[in-house]
C-alpha cells in the first residue's frame, strides 16, 4: 500500500479492491489500515504538496501563524486539497531539522525559517506559475 501511495500520490479505490482480492483480505480491514496511517490518502492530491512542520520546536517558533495564514488567506487547510487541485497541505510532526524552523516543505524542497510573508510569496509564485502555464496551454 505504501508503494501504491508513492506511485499515485493517493490510494485509488480500484487499487484497494485489487489488494483486497490478491491478498484475500476483506475490504473493511484494508480501509481500517488506510485510514489509520497518516501517509495514506483516499483522495487525489494536489499538484503541489505543501508540508508544514508542526513539531514542538516549530510550534514555539511560530508555525501556527503560518498555518493560519495559509488557511485564512489562501483557503488551504490541513489535510485538504484546494478546489483548483493546485495545493494539498499536510501537517507533519517534526522533520528533524529544528534548527531552521518553522519549516515549510514545498514539493520535497525544505524551506526553513519560514515567515508569514515568505509563505505568502511562495503561494503567490506557485499560483502565478500555474496561471502562466494555463495561458501557455490555451
Amino acid at each position: 500500500m505504501l508503494a501504491v501511495q508513492e506511485k499515485f500520490n493517493w490510494l485509488p479505490p480500484q487499487a484497494l479492491d485489487y489488494i483486497s482480492r490478491r491478498l484475500n483480505v476483506r475490504k473493511p480491514r484494508i480501509y481500517h489500515i488506510a485510514t489509520f496511517y497518516k501517509v495514506f490518502s483516499l483522495e487525489p492530491r494536489g499538484k503541489h504538496i505543501l508540508q508544514l512542520c508542526m513539531g514542538t520546536a516549530c510550534h514555539v517558533r511560530g508555525a501556527k501563524l503560518i498555518a493560519d495564514e495559509l488557511s485564512r488567506r489562501h483557503g488551504i487547510h490541513f489535510g485538504e486539497t484546494t478546489d483548483d487541485g493546485l495545493f494539498t497541505l499536510e501537517r507533519v510532526n517534526c522533520l528533524g531539522a529544528c534548527a531552521i524552523g518553522p519549516i515549510l516543505v514545498v514539493d520535497g524542497d525544505y524551506k526553513g525559517n519560514m515567515t508569514t510573508n515568505r509563505a505568502n510569496a511562495v503561494i503567490k509564485r506557485l499560483k502565478r506559475e500555474a496561471t502562466e502555464e494555463d495561458a501557455a496551454n490555451a
Partner: protein, 637 residues
C-alpha cells in the same frame, strides 16, 4: 570480499581500513545531516567535489550530523582541526586554496558567538562542544555513513567479533546487566533485565527489534544516529541477538525519515557482504538478519505493542501492559525491543566494559544521553552529555542561553508524554528518575526550550491536540478525556476560561493517567498537569485577567505601533494583507508619516511585526492597545 571468520581476520581487516584512511593526509568533513542539507549542504557538496576534482590527497566525507545545526552548514578540516560555519559554495575555492593547500585558517568562517566577541577555531574549544562527552555520536563527523570500511577503520565490528568469538552469550548478557544500561527510548527500563527476560522466555523463535519510530515532535536523535553511523546500530543488534538467542531482526523506521532509511539499508547490504549478517556470522554458528519495515506516520506505533501490530501489517493499536512483550511480542513470540540509541550503546559497552560505562553518568542512570536541544535557545543542535548534568548547564552553557537575550521561561522534556519544568527546576540533574519525580520524564531526548514569548497554556494545548490526533482511539479515557481537556484549554486560550476549569483539568488529567491502557495514554496528561503545577499563574492570568503573558493567544492580544519608535518607513503597510495599516495625517517621522493599525481590521497575522526594521510593532493585551488607539486616533481627529 571474503567473509571474515576469526578475530585476527577482523583485526587485520580493521588495520587495513585504517591504513587506507591514513593514506589521506587531509580530510574535509562536510555535515550532510538533514538540517544542514536544508540550508545548502547539498550545493556545498557539489562545489567541493568540483573544486577537489578527484584530488588524491584529500578525503572528502559527506558525514552525518555534527550536532551544531544552528550555524550550519558545517565543514571540518583535518588535521588542521578547524570548524568552519555557515559555509557557502562561494567559500569553497578559498578553503581548498588556503586551508587545504597551505594549511591556513580562514578567519571569517570561524565561529563567533553573539555578544562576547570571541573567535573559536577548534571543535573542542567551542562551548557548545566543550561540555559534551560523545560516545554514540563520537564518529559522526569522522566517518562516511555509507562506508563500512570507514567504520571499521575506527574499530567498528570489533565488539561484534569479541562478543561472538570470545564471549559466551551469558557473558555478554552479564556485561549489559552490569553496565546497567537503561532503555533510551523513553521509559528507561533496564535493558539487561529485558534481555534476560527475553532469553529465558519459552519459544522457538526470538525477535530482535530496533524501534526507530521516533515520533516525538522536536526530537531527531535517532534519525541522526541512523543517518550518521548506521553500522553501530547493526553491530549492537547482532550482539543483542547473540546474547538473547535472537533468530531474526527488524527495524521499524518512521516514514518521515527517508534519508535515515537509505543510509541504514545501505549499511545492511554492506554488513551482509562482509558476513556480519546472514548465515553463520563470523563462523560462530549463529544465523541472523535484519529486515527493514517502514512506519506510516502514526505516533502511537512507537509504543511497543502497537509497533508489533504494525509490523505484522495490521493497524497499530496497543494492548494492555500486563502482557510482557519479552514473552509475547511480535506474532505473540518472545521479542526484545530497544530503541536506536540503546542499540548503538551496546558495542561500546562490549568494547570498553561495564565498568567504563558506569564511570559515566550517575549511579542509577549510567552512560550518556543524546538530546536534541531546540526551541528558543541560542544554539540549536544535537548534543550528547553525561547523565546527571544539570538542565542549567545544558541550556545555558551548551545551549548558549536563550535566543536574543530574552528570559527563560520553561523547558519541556520527554515530548508529548513529558512535562514542562520551570526556572526553579533548572538545577535538577538530568537522569531518568529525577525527571520523572519532577512530573516530566526523560523521554527519548527532546528538549524544547521556551522563552518569555511562549505561552505555556498554548503549548499544553498544542500537545493535547497532538495527542488527540495521534490517539489510536481504542480505549475511552485517552480518547474522550483528552478531547474534553482540549476543549477546556481552547476555551481558556480564547479568553472564555472559567475559574472551575482548573479543577476540571486536574480531575480529567488524573483520570486519563490512571485508566488508560498503554504507556502513551497514561502519560498523555503530563504536559497539562505539569504546566498547571509549575505555571498556575499563567493559567490564572488567562482565566481571571483575560491576559496572555506570553502574548501568543490570538484572542488575548492585539498589535499596535509604538509612535516613539516608528520611523514612518511604511514597510509594514506594504505587507499588510488586509490593509489595516494606515498613515496618520500630520505625524511626520524621519522617513514619512507615522503608521497606525486599525484594530477592527487587523487579523493578527504577524506579517508587519516580522518586517518592521525598528521593532516598533508591539504585541499587547487588547486593553492596552485600545487605550493607545484612542489616544492617537480618536483624540487627534
Amino acid at each position: 570480499m571474503p567473509k571474515l571468520g576469526t578475530i585476527e581476520q577482523v583485526k587485520r581487516f580493521q588495520e587495513k581500513c585504517k591504513t587506507a584512511l591514513d593514506k589521506f593526509p587531509l580530510v574535509v568533513s562536510l555535515c550532510h545531516g538533514t538540517a544542514c542539507c536544508a540550508i545548502g549542504a547539498k550545493e556545498l557538496a557539489a562545489a567541493f567535489e568540483e573544486a577537489l576534482n578527484g584530488e588524491k590527497s584529500v578525503k572528502f566525507i559527506k558525514s552525518g550530523c555534527h550536532g551544531f545545526c544552528e550555524v550550519g552548514p558545517l565543514v571540518v578540516v583535518r588535521p588542521l582541526d578547524v570548524v568552519y560555519q555557515r559555509v557557502k559554495p562561494s567559500d569553497v575555492p578559498e578553503i581548498v586554496e588556503r586551508s587545504l593547500k597551505k594549511g591556513e585558517v580562514i578567519d571569517r568562517l570561524l565561529y563567533r558567538p553573539r555578544g562576547n566577541g570571541k573567535v573559536y577555531a577548534k571543535e573542542e574549544e567551542i562551548p557548545f562542544y566543550a561540555k559534551q562527552s560523545k560516545v554514540v555520536l563520537a564518529l559522526n563527523s569522522r566517518i562516511d555513513p555509507y562506508s563500512i570500511d570507514d567504520y571499521m577503520a575506527y574499530g567498528g565490528y570489533g565488539a561484534l567479533a569479541k562478543a561472538l568469538l570470545e564471549m559466551t552469550p551469558d557473558e555478554v548478557l552479564q556485561e549489559i546487566v552490569d553496565a546497567r544500561l537503561r532503555g533510551r527510548g523513553g521509559g528507561g527500563f533496564d535493558a539487561g533485565r529485558k534481555w534476560k527476560g527475553c532469553r529465558s522466555a519459552p519459544g522457538e523463535r526470538r525477535h530482535i527489534i530496533c524501534n526507530a519510530d521516533e515520533g516525538d515532535p522536536g526530537a531527531f536523535m535517532d534519525e541522526s544516529i541512523l543517518e550518521g553511523n548506521p553500522h553501530s546500530v547493526i553491530e549492537g543488534m547482532v550482539i543483542g541477538a547473540w546474547a538473547i538467542g535472537g533468530t531474526d531482526g527488524f527495524i521499524y523506521v518512521r516514514n518521515e525519515y527517508p534519508r535515515a532509511l537509505r543510509a541504514f539499508s545501505n549499511a545492511l547490504k554492506q554488513a551482509r557482504e562482509y558476513g556480519f549478517l546472514g548465515e553463520n556470522i563470523l563462523s560462530s554458528g549463529m544465523d541472523f538478519d535484519i529486515k527493514v519495515s517502514r512506519g506510516g506516520g502514526a505516533f502511537v506505533c512507537g509504543e511497543s505493542s502497537a509497533l508489533f501490530r504494525s509490523l505484522e501489517g495490521d493497524v497499530g493499536e496497543p494492548r494492555a501492559k500486563y502482557i510482557h512483550s519479552v514473552e509475547r511480542g511480535y506474532h505473540d513470540e518472545p521479542t526484545n525491543l530497544n530503541n536506536v540509541e540503546t542499540w548503538a550503546n551496546v558495542p561500546h559497552i562490549i568494547n570498553r566494559g561495564a565498568k567504563w560505562f558506569r564511570s559515566l553518568g550517575t549511579e542509577d542512570s549510567p552512560g550518556t544521553k543524546v538530546f536534541s536541544l531546540v526551541g528558543k535557545v541560542e544554539n540549536t543542535g544535537l548534543i550528547e552529555v553525561p547523565m546527571g548534568i544539570t538542565l542549567k548547564e545544558v541550556i545555558f552553557e551548551i545551549g548558549g542561553g536563550i535566543k536574543e537575550g530574552r528570559d527563560f521561561k520553561a523547558v519541556q522534556t520527554g515530548g508529548p508524554s513529558g512535562g514542562m519544568l520551570s526556572q526553579s527546576q533548572l538545577d535538577l540533574p538530568v537522569d531518568f528518575d529525577v525527571l520523572t519525580e519532577a512530573g516530566s520524564m526523560m523521554g527519548s531526548g527532546g528538549m524544547i526550550v521556551m522563552d518569555e514569548g511562549t505561552c505555556v497554556v498554548d503549548v499544553a494545548k498544542y500537545f493535547t491536540d497532538f495527542l488527540i490526533e495521534e490517539s489510536c482511539g481504542k480505549c475511552l479515557p485517552c480518547r474522550e478525556g483528552l478531547m474534553h481537556m482540549s476543549r477546556i484549554l481552547h476555551r481558556i486560550t480564547e479568553g472564555q476560561g472559567e475559574p472551575k476549569d482548573m479543577e476540571s483539568l486536574k480531575r480529567l488529567g488524573d483520570a486519563v493517567a490512571v485508566a488508560s491502557l498503554c504507556g502513551l495514554g497514561t502519560s498523555a496528561p503530563n504536559p497539562v498537569l505539569s504546566s498547571i503545577k509549575y505555571f498556575e499563574d499563567e493559567y490564572l492570568a488567562h482565566i481571571n485577567e483575560r491576559r496572555c503573558p506570553g502574548r501568543v493567544c490570538r484572542a488575548l492580544i492585539s498589535y499596535h505601533i509604538d509612535p516613539d519608535t516608528c520611523t514612518g518607513c511604511g514597510t509594514c503597510e506594504k505587507v499588510c494583507p488586509v490593509e489595516a495599516i494606515q498613515p496618520v495625517a500630520g505625524e511626520e517621522r524621519e522617513e514619512g508619516l507615522l503608521r497606525i493599525i486599525d484594530l477592527a481590521v487587523c487579523d493578527k497575522c504577524d506579517a508587519c511585526r516580522e518586517v518592521c526594521p525598528e521593532e516598533a510593532i508591539l504585541v499587547e493585551s487588547p486593553a492596552i492597545a485600545l487605550e493607545h488607539y484612542r489616544e492617537n486616533v480618536t483624540e487627534k481627529r
